[in-house]
């Protein structure tokens, strides 16, 4: 999630536009069948982000773990399809589709603050209960991770050191106890949060959120830029046009 001031066009664009265009982008790339079109989409999308002053290098660092996982999944898929003789190509296509999707989702989410995500969801008429659930989860993820870290520090301060593998019974026991304690603390905290809500006149309903502003032309420009490349390449694919063949 973004935590600093907004910079480029992409980051400053309306959250609703970013979320919708990202969903369309993901849907389109999953329908593209050739690897070279996927590579072109990825390339153009990267160029667009750079043109819109998006801090791409910071973003790439965050992609390392998801890309690693996507790579493993694609390799397994490719291996499973080896018998058909198209395993490598299918594995590559799957990897490129997933890479495009992860890249776009990560770019959209990392360019928004938590309030922006929630306001955008509300603006897109996502059910209030779901928005509240996401809001509470995002708000308290930080509190619980700090609580978890404090518990682990307290354990370490009393000489605890975790085992080096998953078969270390004592470590698993401690991890289990920590998660159990965290669960109980979360339960107790949820009761206190509910009391604090009641004390300010809460009688049901959902988290009140401020109305979102109107969508401007610059927002639409950013949204169209996101979906343009996959839309063009998909249409070209449907009409049997291949830019690789044209190059030859």
């Amino acid at each position: 999630m973004k935590s600093s001031e907004q910079h480029g066009i992409f980051q400053a664009a309306d959250g609703r536009v970013k979320l919708i265009s990202t969903c369309i982008f993901v849907a389109l790339v999953t329908m593209i069948y050739s690897w070279y079109n996927l590579v072109a989409v990825l390339f153009i999308f990267t160029i667009e982000l750079l043109a819109m002053n998006f801090p791409i290098y910071k973003h790439l660092k965050r992609l390392m773990i998801p890309v690693f996982l996507v790579g493993i999944m694609s390799a397994l898929m490719g291996l499973a399809e080896m018998s058909s003789g198209q395993g490598v190509e299918r594995g590559i296509i799957l990897f490129l589709r997933a890479l495009c999707a992860v890249f776009a989702i990560n770019a959209a989410v990392s360019s928004m603050t938590v309030p922006e995500v929630l306001h955008s969801m509300k603006g897109l008429r996502v059910p209030d209960m779901l928005v509240s659930l996401v809001g509470f989860t995002l708000r308290y993820a930080d509190v619980f991770s700090k609580e978890m870290s404090r518990m682990m520090t307290a354990r370490k301060s009393r000489g605890y050191s975790p085992g080096k593998n998953l078969w270390h019974f004592a470590t698993m026991k401690i991890i289990g106890q920590t998660i159990g304690a965290l669960f109980l603390r979360s339960y107790e905290r949820s009761e206190r949060i509910y009391f604090s809500m009641l004390s300010r006149g809460y009688t049901g309903g959902t988290m009140p959120l401020r109305e979102t502003s109107r969508i401007k032309a610059a927002d639409l420009f950013a949204g169209i830029s996101i979906v343009l490349a996959p839309a063009v390449f998909k249409m070209a694919e449907m009409r049997g046009i291949s830019w690789i063949a044209l190059l030859k």
């Binding site: 938590v114 309030p115 809001g135 905290r189 604090s196 004390s199 809460y202 988290m207 401020r210």
Partner: protein, 276 residues
């Protein structure tokens, strides 16, 4: 006596069977700064939760500004009694500061302009203007505490209740908090603070209530904190000033000073007298 709170024979036990309150009888005066003192587990927080109807009396009665606490008027009650919880992370839960402060007024269906006005005033009172669009997890602990207070201020309650307001606050934030409380009291609000900080109670409170094991041991002005019997029975400590002046028997003061300033003035006079 003009009472903000009247409690008669109040009993309460938690779901796990713990008897938290065992027959509380108490009067809290209107427009005063009242501190409820007691060790951990004395029942302070449970008592506070009765004052705006979060907990309802299982036996006995609680009246706030003459209104009996019962399920029928709990919403009205929460508008006149503002409760600030010990941990601001329990209270500040909305995605932005503005939305959190507006949470109370929006629950009372106030018009949009009125909500805006109240949020602006509340944030100004706690000196957090400009942070309206900040997410709570980007704030310091002291700032979150002030957001929690602003959230209560926006409801414009007549009685402010704070549970352990100094917990985990640094000295600067603590001083800032005191300024806010004094300003509110200056505007006529009744302030009730639950704490185990005897120094704070001795220096700040107009009235002090001492609790232990779910009962009220004593109530009165700050001088009850100089009483050996009460302090020992409540398992509290003397405030630092009391401790000092009790040891300085040669100072021969009739009345122990109520603040550091008073103590300094007294000692200055004594020293000047000796030198002359």
């Amino acid at each position: 006596m003009d009472c903000a709170v009247e409690i008669d024979d109040l009993f309460f036990h938690h779901k796990d069977g713990t008897r938290a309150l065992k027959g509380i009888n108490l009067r809290i005066r209107r427009g005063r700064r009242t501190v409820i003192l007691g060790p951990n587990g004395a029942g302070k927080s449970t008592l506070l939760l009765h004052l705006n109807g979060i907990y309802l009396p299982q036996k006995g009665t609680v009246k706030v500004l003459g209104m009996e606490v019962n399920p029928k008027n709990e919403k009205k009650l929460r508008e006149i009694v503002g409760l600030v919880f010990q941990d601001p992370d329990d209270q500040v839960f909305c995605p932005t500061v503005w939305e959190d402060v507006a949470f109370g007024p929006l629950n009372y269906d106030l018009p949009e302009e009125e909500v805006d006005k109240r949020v602006d005033e509340a944030l100004k009172a706690v000196r957090l203007e400009g942070l309206e669009q900040k997410a709570p997890f980007h704030l310091s602990y002291g700032q979150k505490k002030r957001v929690a207070i602003a959230g209560v201020l926006a409801l414009k309650p007549e009685i402010f209740i704070l549970d352990e307001p100094h917990a985990f606050l640094d000295p600067y934030s603590r001083a800032e908090l005191l300024k806010i409380l004094d300003a509110l009291n200056g505007q006529g609000s009744s302030i009730i603070v639950a704490t185990h900080d005897v120094d704070f109670a001795y220096e700040w409170a107009d009235d002090v209530v001492v609790m232990k094991d779910g009962i009220v041991l004593a109530s009165g002005d700050r001088n009850i904190l100089t009483d050996d019997k009460i302090i020992n029975e409540a398992e509290l400590e003397y405030p630092l000033l009391v401790k000092l002046f009790k040891k300085l028997s040669e100072a021969r003061c009739d009345k122990i000073p109520a603040s550091v300033d008073e103590a300094a003035e007294f000692l200055r006079r004594k020293m000047n007298g000796k030198c002359q």
